[in-house]
């Protein structure tokens, strides 16, 4: 064996120093040039492909499976390529007497309170009726060291999920409130009995990552949406004799959650190519905005943009208030004009994901 390589060596040096790597070694040794080589080097007829053989605008297909956990009120498993997340929603009763500060919200008589998302958000936020949590399983990603306190990555995810849940007012307060209408007064039957607030449903939303291959936030959010859509809350009522809240075990009395709109996030990573590579001074496209980045691309890209849109009303124009959130940090490549394109890509993605979530329900 050694003899053959020795024999081959002089031949090789006659041409050029043979400096070729297999693909995975190139990716491991020099990830940045590797991705740039993928995106830049291509025939003009073909659109450049990323290392994962998607084009820059391609998202991964969403796979949603709902109702797979039996002990939850609602659950979903979402796959986004090699990123897979499980979300379980569990509802528990919070007695009105056990919390402080419900007095501010107590006059829950009218319909006007139900239709004001601003007030609902305050109530949900101050009583913490939605409790998301994120857990990374052992081996889900190489960066995650098991046995430690939740990493700042997990904590950031929880915060983003929670603030999006609140700011979009996704869950209706009327679904969470447990009201009791006393029987009408015998002395004065004309007076309409006023419903009293007896308790709340608290939704514990747990997200568990089986594996993370980039774009953890999108996967988590789609899993939450699918799980909440799938959730069924039992009928709870105040029992006057026992003076407590009871749940009915009749399945037909349970009600599903009715969500407000369908906000869908789309995450983009911005790849900044090295411009000084070609000395010719030609103006070449050196930055790429990659849709739905995987873990390898996330490790190479510094800037990331997340656009959350909700086109439930059917409007998709630039004047319509469809944007729910924009997050961008890490660099200055995406400017105002580029953002317009990203919003459009997010709107296209919205239709795709909407189809996937409705198919299973």
């Amino acid at each position: 064996m050694a003899a053959t390589t020795a024999a081959a060596a002089p031949q090789d040096s006659a041409h050029a120093p043979a400096l070729t790597f297999p693909r995975p070694i190139f990716a491991a040794v020099a990830p940045h040039p590797f991705l740039q080589a993928h995106l830049a080097a291509s025939q003009p007829s073909k659109t450049p492909l990323r290392a994962n053989s998607r084009t820059a605008h391609d998202f991964r297909r969403v796979g949603i499976n709902t109702g797979s956990l039996t002990h939850c009120n609602g659950s979903a498993v979402v796959r986004l390529g090699n990123t897979s997340a499980v979300c379980g929603v569990r509802a528990e009763i919070l007695h009105e007497a056990h919390v402080q500060g419900t007095a501010d919200f107590a006059p829950s008589t009218g319909n006007e309170a139900e239709e004001d998302p601003e007030r609902e958000r305050e109530e949900i936020e101050s009583l913490r009726l939605l409790v998301p949590n994120v857990e990374l399983s052992t081996g889900s990603t190489p960066q995650h060291i098991p046995g430690n306190a939740p990493s700042s990555f997990a904590q950031t995810l929880i915060t983003r999920v929670q603030s999006l849940l609140l700011s979009t007012s996704l869950v209706r307060l009327s679904d969470l409130r447990i009201l009791y209408t006393p029987p009408s007064n015998l002395d004065d039957p004309d007076v309409e009995p006023v419903p009293q607030l007896k308790g709340y449903w608290v939704l514990y939303i747990d997200i568990f990552y089986i594996s993370i291959d980039g774009n953890a936030f999108d996967a988590a959010w789609v899993a939450i949406l699918a799980a909440l859509k799938n959730s069924v809350i039992p009928h709870a009522f105040w029992d006057e004799d026992l003076e407590t809240i009871l749940c009915s075990d009749v399945p037909s009395e349970a009600h599903p959650l009715t969500l407000r709109g369908l906000p869908i996030p789309s995450t983009f990573a911005v790849f900044e190519g090295k411009r000084d590579w070609n000395e010719t001074g030609e103006e070449e496209e050196a930055d790429w905005v990659l849709s739905d980045p995987d873990a390898f691309e996330e490790s190479v890209c510094r800037e990331s943009v997340c656009v959350v849109v909700d086109c439930t009303g059917g409007n998709k124009g630039t004047k319509d208030g469809i944007l729910k959130r924009l997050e961008k940090s890490g660099g200055g490549v995406v400017e105002r004009d580029a953002m317009k394109g990203l919003v459009k890509r997010a709107v296209d993605r919205w239709a795709e994901v909407e189809k996937a979530t409705n198919a299973k329900s």
């Binding site: 904590q155 950031t156 510094r302 630039t318 959130r325 924009l326 961008k328 490549v333 953002m339 919003v343």
Partner: protein, 252 residues
């Protein structure tokens, strides 16, 4: 009203700054370049560590999120390849918040973010960490009205102004680099692309328009308050700092 800044007042830290604006007061300290933990060492650039401590209590996931945002943003303005294999440690302590901060209807992390960014930058300047550019940030709130026009924008509103303008439909935080590139954007609420674009344009003018005298004068009329170019404010802070450091030269 321009923010107040005091630089290099903590003597144990390599650089420090106290920043006060609209009732928000933040103390920032920077240590660096210092030795880095072996685990965090990067062969070709400096490691940046950001710690945010809230005004009350210990840090929560909210602070971790803000730290991540600050880390991502500061990484793009600190010239990290010039100090490889070192650590730049930035600690920001929220000293006081306006009383109305929790009831504005805007996420408290959004109202705090521009102030944290400014404090971090001032502390970095005070520590003489090599920077590739500067940074200015601003909060813009759009109250819900039936006719959304440009003049309803609230540019870096105080907590009381937000409370009066309630309900706020959307809130936006923008940060721009010295060259006018958008480094950070956090927008929350319900808004259209055009509203966002207008907000971004207004933010760019407040942050970094060099010859924005005319535009600022217009804003003054609209808002009924003194317009201030944040880039100009930053320059004046640095000028004061340099004058202070050069006083041995001018002394007779």
């Amino acid at each position: 009203m321009a923010p107040d800044a005091v630089l290099s007042h903590l003597h144990r830290a390599d650089g420090s700054a106290t920043y006060t604006h609209n009732g928000y007061c933040i103390i920032g300290a920077v240590n660096g370049p210092i030795e880095v933990l072996r685990r965090d060492e990067r062969p070709e650039e400096a490691t940046i560590e950001v710690n945010v401590r809230p005004a009350v209590g210990v840090g929560s996931p909210k602070e971790r999120h803000i730290e991540t945002l600050l880390h991502n943003t500061l990484r793009s303005i600190i010239s990290t390849p010039s100090i490889p294999r070192t650590l730049v440690q930035i600690t920001l302590q929220v000293h006081s918040l306006p009383d109305e901060d929790s009831s504005t209807g805007v996420s408290p992390s959004l109202t705090l973010l521009p102030h944290l960014l400014h404090t971090a930058l001032l502390a970095l300047l005070s520590a003489s960490i090599p920077l590739s550019t500067t940074l200015t940030a601003v909060l813009i709130a759009l109250p819900s009205t039936n006719t959304p026009t440009a003049c309803t924008q609230l540019l870096s509103p105080t907590a009381i102004e937000l409370l009066r303008a309630k309900p706020i439909r959307s809130a936006h935080v923008f940060a721009f680099s010295g060259e006018g590139k958008m480094l950070l954007n956090e927008s929350d609420g319900t808004f259209s692309y055009e509203e966002w674009d207008e907000a971004a344009e207004a933010a760019e003018e407040v942050c970094c328009k060099e010859d924005g005298a005319v535009v600022l004068a217009e804003n003054m009329e609209v808002d009924g308050r003194e317009g201030e170019n944040l880039d100009g404010w930053l320059r004046s802070v640095v000028r004061t700092k340099v004058e202070h450091e050069q006083r041995w030269k001018s002394a007779r």
